[in-house]
């Protein structure tokens, strides 16, 4: 079969058209309603006094399971204080200060525990998992291959890698699910917070509380609960008195990137039909071509005088 250029473009056109159809959000794949029974945290930046007790408690509780170490400041060679400057391979949660001339606010960074987490969607070996009941996004170092695709995928740059170790792992908040949550029923940071800036509970309750606070003191808050709709919703919610972008919480679309990528990926690989069809079609064409030519190698036109390999005489 000699494929004509026309037929090639026909196929290419059909493939292209199918692709365009696939990229349109299908009615059937609308994102599921937010799971408001999942566990989450509400951090109210207007209540936070920046004491960093949450950071200390987090490291104390999770140091052993998470492989966390103190991060010494340059003036402190003996590492007496823990002084991380950002989330890192040693720090799951961090308080930062945002200061302008008259306005200032603390902000606590940690895993957002997305409703549709990108890290879980991309992890090739299920090292990142989302608990179907609690909604906790957890990490298993025993499965992780260290490819760092979760870091590429996370819109909040939350998963951190231990670059300086020969046996590294990914570090991120898991709501103390194997430590404090198990023993005391709530994450260490929420337990120690002296001002109740960190509330722990079900997402639905936290959302209601957040909206009530905004309603009660509208002059105090930015009228938005960060995490309610961002990339499909997160279980870690924020209230603040200054715009969220200034606190390092990026402006994000409502659609979860994971929904977008999975829609395209699944359209191509649905039921593994396309790859099998591709293989079958290719095989039929290739088999016909080689049969027609008598062998899968003998060039038909290029060398008409060519005789098959001449048997050698023994030396």
């Amino acid at each position: 079969m000699k494929q004509t250029r026309r037929s090639f473009f026909k196929t290419a056109g059909a493939v292209g058209a199918g692709w365009v159809a696939a990229t349109q959000p299908a009615a059937a794949s609308t994102p599921p309603a937010p799971h408001n029974d999942e566990l989450g945290m509400l951090y109210d930046a207007t209540k936070c006094v920046g004491c960093k007790a949450c950071m200390a408690a987090c490291k104390r509780v999770n140091a052993a399971v998470g492989g966390l170490a103190f991060e010494a400041a340059p003036f402190d060679p003996e590492a007496l204080w823990d002084a991380p400057t950002d989330l890192s391979g040693d720090t799951r949660t961090l308080i930062k200060l945002h200061r302008e001339t008259s306005v200032w606010s603390y902000v606590k960074h940690s895993c957002m525990h997305c409703q549709k987490p990108a890290c879980v969607s991309v992890c090739p070996v299920k090292a990142m998992t989302k608990d179907p009941v609690t909604g906790i996004v957890d990490y298993s170092k025993d499965t992780c291959i260290g490819c760092r695709y979760c870091q590429i995928a996370c819109s909040f740059n939350i998963p951190k890698f231990q670059w300086d170790r020969s046996v590294p792992q990914i570090v991120k908040c898991d709501l103390c699910h194997s430590t404090n949550l198990k023993t005391k029923g709530l994450p260490a940071c929420a337990e120690v917070c002296p001002t109740n800036a960190i509330l722990f509970g079900k997402r639905g309750d936290l959302l209601a509380e957040a909206h009530a606070r905004i309603k009660q003191a509208p002059e105090k808050y930015v009228p938005h609960v960060y995490g309610e709709h961002e990339i499909g919703g997160t279980n870690h919610l924020y209230l603040a008195g200054v715009p969220f972008e200034k606190l390092g919480l990026p402006k994000l679309p409502k659609e979860a990137p994971a929904s977008f990528s999975e829609r395209i990926h699944h359209t191509i690989y649905k039921g593994f039909i396309a790859p099998v069809a591709l293989y079958t079609a290719l095989f039929c064409v290739a088999a016909r071509n080689t049969k027609k030519n008598g062998s899968n190698a003998a060039p038909p036109a290029a060398e008409p005088s060519e005789t098959p390999e001449t048997p050698e005489t023994p030396q």
Partner: protein, 439 residues
């Protein structure tokens, strides 16, 4: 299987370039050792913002595209039925084999916890939402398929070779270490018989693998594009499009043809063989079509998403986008006049433009257009670059050695009456009969 279409390259293996490349490999291996002992941060400039550096952007994303010669030519030969390109097949498969094998190797260097990589073979760990899972399995399968596709060439030379180098080595050993020569020669006969037994059987089922060798790259090259679909909030809108998989697929095919042209011209030059202008001109004729298709998809998609102004805004991203666009368009335009397609010099220039444009596209998607937010910068460290250089050097080294040990390169002067006797320095052993051509 048409073994008469190929020949071994004559010459010494231990040349000057062999030792130069070997030095580079050694330097790379040294830094890999440092990486293993002290962690990735000790040798690379990767960070939590840029968790993938050149090991992924070059060695995997670009390296496997450059290794797509075998795929692109196989489409031409077996699907589009252009059998006269078959003599190019073996060197393409060889470079693809090295390209993919070493991409896999650099992934193992890049992985933080490679000892857990066995999880790819544990069905309960399979994660079908992950484009990387698809890429990983496909690349592993394809590397295996490439080895199987190349095996007949190795078996053929094991069967027909006089084992000159091996015998010389034994003679060199002789005064120091006296091997039982008779027993070893006996074993060689054994190996030869085994190879002779296996090869026709393998060639009978080879078509299954050849077609797998076309289906698998179609799957994983498009999935290499799908990998960055997730970075919706990080990858610049010039490159983040639902068409990423399609663009990566077309991209690897034109890079494939262009790299075959480049490799053929370079190896003809290096090994002082005549240029294969006839076949290369044919390949070159396909490139403008593919480039047009690609550019149409790119521009149409940008227009559809309303990003054409961003493409022309001449900021850093726009400039790199235009550079990639211009490299490809110029390369394709240069190949339009048939006369230029027959000139090795023009072929070389335009193929180089096409490869660099296509490679720049992949760099743009994986690294340059990727912006994790303020405060993050990435430029590869010297050690990081030397590891990549070492891996490329290993690839070139392997190619150099293989073409001298196995009949890989297209036979010169195809229409000589007794090609096997006149050019091949390794005559067949006794008792070998031409067999009817299989499948």
């Amino acid at each position: 299987m048409g073994h008469h279409q190929f020949q071994k390259q004559k010459g010494r293996i231990l040349t000057k370039s062999f030792f130069v490349l070997l030095t580079l490999v050694a330097v790379g291996m040294f830094f890999i050792a440092v990486r293993i002992v002290k962690g990735i941060g000790a040798v690379s400039n990767m960070s939590d913002g840029y968790p993938w550096g050149i090991w992924i952007a070059y060695d995997v994303a670009t390296g496997t595209a450059i290794a797509c010669g075998g795929y692109a030519v196989a489409i031409l030969v077996y699907i589009r039925n252009r059998m006269h390109y078959h003599p190019l097949m073996r060197s393409c498969i060889l470079t693809s084999m090295f390209g993919y094998g070493l991409a896999g190797f650099s992934v193992m260097v890049d992985l933080g916890r490679p000892w857990n990589a066995y999880n790819f073979f544990v069905p309960s760990k399979w994660q079908f939402n992950s484009a990387m899972f698809e890429v990983a399995l496909c690349v592993m399968a394809y590397s295996t398929v490439l080895i199987i596709e190349f095996l007949p060439a190795i078996l053929y030379s094991m069967e027909k070779s006089r084992w000159v180098r091996f015998r010389k080595f034994m003679d060199w050993l002789h005064p120091r270490l006296v091997p039982d020569k008779e027993a070893i020669l006996d074993k060689i006969e054994w190996v030869r018989a085994g190879a002779g037994w296996l090869r026709p059987r393998l060639e009978k089922v080879l078509l299954f693998f050849i077609v797998l060798g076309i289906a698998l790259p179609t799957m994983h090259q498009s999935s290499l594009g799908s990998m960055l679909l997730i970075a919706a909030t990080k990858l610049h809108p010039l490159w983040h499009t639902p068409f990423l998989p399609l663009l990566f697929l077309i991209n690897c095919i034109y890079i494939g043809y262009a790299i075959v042209i480049l490799e053929s011209i370079i190896s003809s030059h290096a090994f002082r063989r005549p240029f294969e202008v006839q076949q290369l001109a044919g390949l070159a004729g396909l490139i403008p079509w593919l480039a047009t298709l690609w550019l149409v998809v790119v521009v149409g998609d940008l227009a559809y998403r309303g990003q054409l102004t961003a493409a022309g805004s001449l900021d850093r991203y726009s400039c790199l986008f235009l550079a990639e666009f211009a490299l490809l368009a110029t390369g394709a335009l240069l190949l339009l006049p048939p006369r230029q397609r027959r000139s090795p010099r023009w072929l070389f220039v335009s193929a180089a433009l096409i490869v660099s444009g296509g490679a720049l596209y992949r760099f743009n998607v994986y690294l340059i257009g990727f912006n994790p937010g303020e405060g993050w910068i990435y430029f590869p460290s010297l050690a990081e670059i030397m590891i990549s250089v070492g891996i490329v050097a290993l690839e070139l080294l392997g190619y150099q050695v293989f073409v001298k040990m196995v009949p890989v390169l297209p036979r010169v002067a195809l229409d000589e009456p007794k090609p096997a006797a006149s050019v091949d320095p390794t005559p067949s052993p006794s008792g070998w009969q031409p067999r009817p051509q299989t499948s």
